[in-house]
């Protein structure tokens, strides 16, 4: 219990630090959105003071001293008010993110968890049956598949499964005729559209989990407690799962935490290739369109999701490893 409370305290502290940094960094950087806009206008002729004022008013340049600005900012963050998007005017940033977020969470988050579970299970199998074909086949094909870059696998799948064979749609999160609603048809349509991007992520990340788990478990299989368990005549399955695999999974949790944290920010390329309207797609467009409010909110979100993922993994460690519960 003390452990969980301490973790929560630690989480809140880092969260505060991250939010504050997100406030300070843009203010420490030279230049401002106004300067950027004026520099663009200046190419076509001189810019008057009135124009500058107009742009500042439009962008909402902060007033008051830094402390007032900071508290205003904190208030906005807490109420999830991130202003209005430039590129998708007049939609608010919160609205934009709210629309994109479920797609990314469902697609990338779900697939990352599936890949971790599946990869770990296969890793356990390969380590237990090491030096047989049950080991060689998954290990080799897994490491082969994970050597491809994300986008290349994505393009291959897109070309063959989408363009040549017409098995799956080539872009979007749902068909042109479907309307977003909580219905079975819409849900199936979303799944159908998510198949290719999901497969891409699965193929490229599965190998890493297999090999990571296999190596960790081969190590624990050599540990004394496994030999002792065998000497005590425990059943093979008990030894494999409760002794070897149970301990081998611990170091892999850290990697899982990092992968989970990367879910929100790490899917830019895949979403771009498949035209999938998630956070990554949004981020890409925000950068292209120099949409500062959107970018800043997305960066904050990416940071916070990494923190949340790490917090969850810390809690998981506490549950799974008695040695960390001190």
């Amino acid at each position: 219990m003390v452990y969980v409370l301490r973790r929560i305290g630690f989480f809140l502290l880092t969260l505060w630090a991250a939010v504050t940094l997100n406030f300070l960094l843009p203010r420490m950087m030279p230049g401002s959105p106004t300067d950027a806009a004026i520099a663009k206008l200046a190419q076509n002729g001189p810019v008057t003071d009135a124009t500058r004022k107009a742009i500042e008013a439009q962008l909402g340049v902060p007033d008051g001293n830094i402390l007032e600005q900071y508290f205003g900012y904190l208030h906005q963050v807490l109420t999830l008010d991130f202003g209005v998007s430039y590129t998708f005017y007049p939609q608010s940033v919160s609205e934009m993110i709210w629309q994109a977020f479920p797609y990314t969470i469902v697609l990338v988050g779900f697939v990352t968890i599936i890949a971790f579970i599946l990869g770990t299970l296969i890793g356990v199998l390969t380590a237990w049956k090491r030096n047989t074909w049950l080991d060689a086949l998954p290990t080799l094909s897994g490491s082969f598949a994970s050597t491809f870059p994300y986008f290349w696998t994505a393009l291959l799948l897109l070309f063959f499964a989408g363009y040549v064979l017409h098995l799956f749609p080539t872009s979007g999160a749902f068909g042109p005729t479907a309307t977003p609603a909580f219905t079975w048809d819409f849900f199936m349509d979303v799944l159908y559209h998510a198949a290719l991007p999901a497969l891409t992520i699965l193929i490229t990340s599965l190998g890493g989990w297999i090999i990571g788990m296999r190596n960790a478990m081969i190590n624990t299989l050599g540990d004394d407690y496994v030999t002792f368990a065998e000497a005590n005549g425990l059943k093979g399955r008990t030894v494999a799962i409760r002794y070897a695999a149970r301990n081998a999974i611990l170091p892999n949790l850290t990697g899982f935490g990092l992968a989970l944290g990367g879910v929100v920010g790490g899917s830019v390329l895949v979403e771009q290739v498949f035209g999938y309207p998630g956070i990554g797609y949004l981020l890409f467009n925000a950068v292209i369109g120099q949409d500062y409010p959107l970018m800043q909110a997305l960066f904050l979100m990416i940071t916070v999701s990494v923190l949340i993922a790490n917090f969850l993994v810390d809690i998981m460690y506490g549950v799974l490893d008695p040695r960390t519960r001190r």
Partner: protein
């Protein structure tokens, strides 16, 4: 009566691609009668552990049986299939592993360890689980509350007891103990051996004690098999081994035991201190013979205490060292003995400036160790060097001996190029690693434990120090190598005038290489004085307990006669 275990011409080979096959066990034959307590003794690499794993069918690749038969109750266990083998581990043969520290699954409670075994064999009805567990814990002398603990919350001795209880829960007819007390503290070691001995009597299982320590084995077993280079060189009742050893190797092993309490203590190549010409005068002349040596650079530890903050909130602070004072004069050797946790290693850390004392002062010559700046720390480390316990982890496996020795020669001695190399070769010569050119080029894994320890000593000598702090320098070495390393330390002191703080729990080696002794218990000095005097006429109860815990074949003889 038929023997319970019969091994005929057994051979085990280690085969891994790229290496020469190693015949670890070579045509070994022996038989055990039911109820016997047999010792299996040998030094590292003798094949004793391999044999222990083979007769319990726990050997793993790359080890492979390449000949012979193992009959357990008349059945060749080498032909059992996996499932039959698994089932017969209940009521058959059990194994307690070396370093019981790691023999328990860190994420399962002790209770779950028992339940795993009960589930696997079904020999205890579910309703009887609790009573059975408590009963087993009682047998090994642990409170039943231990059942709810995780292995990480137990001490090394407690974990070893749990391992024994787990093995016992199988109701085995044959139990193999592989180095059950190695890596444990002396006093704990003795207590565990007592438990094993009494259990063997009360439960009536046949027991094999695999150990490197002939002393421990002779004290507890009725019959001893001596192993050397994969073969059993002697198989005889314990008393015969002790009184009338036939094999030369057995005699050599025996010759390395002596009673630290005896009036005259000698080992091969190591005459008794009193009879040697090592008077204080000779030592002082050695000390002054070295140039630039001022006689006032003694280490003075003055009313030093070290208190560590409590390990967890709400617990008591830990007093590791409690008001200790002593002076280590140039050329002198002082033993610091005590069980683990007595504060002896903390004192070493205080002297080398790694830790700062909570109270009191440590001075080296004019330097106050706790107040040193960067440059003075360097000066201190140039003059005070450590020799570590474990020669296997004290050397970087990626560096050659020459590189390892060149670092201090360059950093402390300021020598470069050919001069540095010459100094490295001199050092190797000093520690007796000849031919020096060959040893300089070797990597740690190409050296034996004793050779590694000599390299560690050479490294400590590289800066031409005035004080050596030797922290259990021989406890990881085979007995036959110990005397050599100890003799080297002794030589260095006599010829170079290096003073030595010798930290150990091994009273025999303390008797051999030190003039004075301090016995520590719970951070306090409980007894001090001339080494020979203190060990012959100990006054403190703790010193007597330490002396009693020293495995001693001669005492076994006393008990047997």
């Amino acid at each position: 009566m038929n023997p319970i275990l019969e091994v005929k011409n057994l051979s085990v080979v280690y085969e891994s691609s790229g290496f020469n096959a190693l015949q670890a066990v070579d045509h070994v034959s022996f038989a055990l009668e039911a109820g016997e307590f047999v010792g299996l003794v040998g030094e590292s690499g003798s094949g004793k552990s391999t044999l222990g794993l083979a007769i319990t069918r726990l050997q793993k690749s790359p080890a492979r049986t390449n000949g012979g038969e193992i009959f357990f109750r008349g059945k060749d266990i080498r032909e059992l299939d996996a499932e039959t083998l698994r089932q017969q581990r209940q009521g058959g043969f059990a194994m307690v592993l070396q370093s019981g520290m790691n023999a328990l699954n860190p994420v399962r409670t002790i209770r779950n360890h028992f339940i795993d075994i009960f589930r696997a064999h079904g020999h205890v009805g579910k309703s009887g689980w609790d009573a059975r567990q408590i009963d087993l814990m009682e047998k090994v002398g642990l409170p039943k509350e231990t059942l709810a603990r995780f292995p990480g919350e137990l001490s090394g001795g407690m974990r070893q007891r749990v391992s024994i209880a787990l093995a016992l829960s199988l109701e085995p007819q044959l139990m193999v103990f592989d180095e059950p007390t190695t890596a444990l503290d002396v006093l704990v070691q003795q207590a565990i051996m007592d438990t094993i001995k009494s259990l063997q009597k009360s439960e009536g299982f046949t027991a094999v004690l695999v150990s490197h320590d002939l002393g421990v084995v002779l004290e507890s077993t009725q019959r001893v098999l001596v192993m050397h280079e994969g073969r059993i060189v002697e198989d005889a009742p314990s008393r015969d081994i002790l009184e009338n050893p036939q094999d030369e190797y057995t005699r050599m092993l025996l010759s390395h035991y002596a009673d630290p309490r005896a009036e005259v203590v000698e080992l091969p190549g190591f005459p008794d201190r009193a009879r040697r010409d090592t008077g204080a005068a000779a030592r002082t002349s050695g000390a002054t013979a070295r140039d630039g040596r001022s006689s006032d650079s003694a280490i003075v530890v003055d009313h030093v205490s070290k208190v560590y903050p409590p390990p967890r909130r709400g617990e008591q602070a830990v007093t590791a060292v409690d008001d200790v004072s002593f002076t280590l004069e140039p050329g002198q050797s002082l033993a610091l003995v005590g069980a683990s946790g007595s504060g002896k290693s903390t004192i070493a850390k205080l002297i080398t400036g790694i830790e700062k004392p909570t109270a009191g002062t440590v001075t080296f010559g004019q330097l106050d160790v706790a107040q040193l700046g960067r440059r003075q720390i360097r000066e201190l480390h140039k003059n005070v060097q450590m020799i570590f316990q474990d020669p296997y982890s004290a050397l970087n496996p990626l560096h050659t001996v020459e590189y390892t020795l060149t670092r201090p020669v360059v950093n402390f001695g300021g020598l470069r190029g050919p001069a540095a190399r010459k100094r490295v070769l001199e050092l190797l010569e000093t520690v007796g690693l000849a031919p020096v050119e060959q040893f300089a080029a070797k990597l740690p894994h190409q050296l034996s434990g004793g050779q590694r320890q000599r390299v560690v000593i050479a490294r400590a000598l590289a800066s031409n120090p005035q004080v050596l702090i030797a922290d259990e320098p021989v406890s990881m070495l085979d007995v036959s190598l110990r005397a050599g390393v100890l003799a080297l330390l002794e030589d260095l002191r006599e010829q170079w005038g290096v003073s030595m703080l010798y930290i150990t729990h091994d009273l025999l080696s303390a008797r051999l290489v030190t003039d004075n002794i301090m016995v520590l218990n719970g951070g306090r000095v409980v007894e001090r004085g001339n080494t020979a005097q203190v060990l012959q006429h100990p006054e403190d109860e703790y010193t007597i307990r330490l002396l009693d815990a020293v495995p001693n074949p001669a005492r076994a003889r006393g008990a047997a006669v």
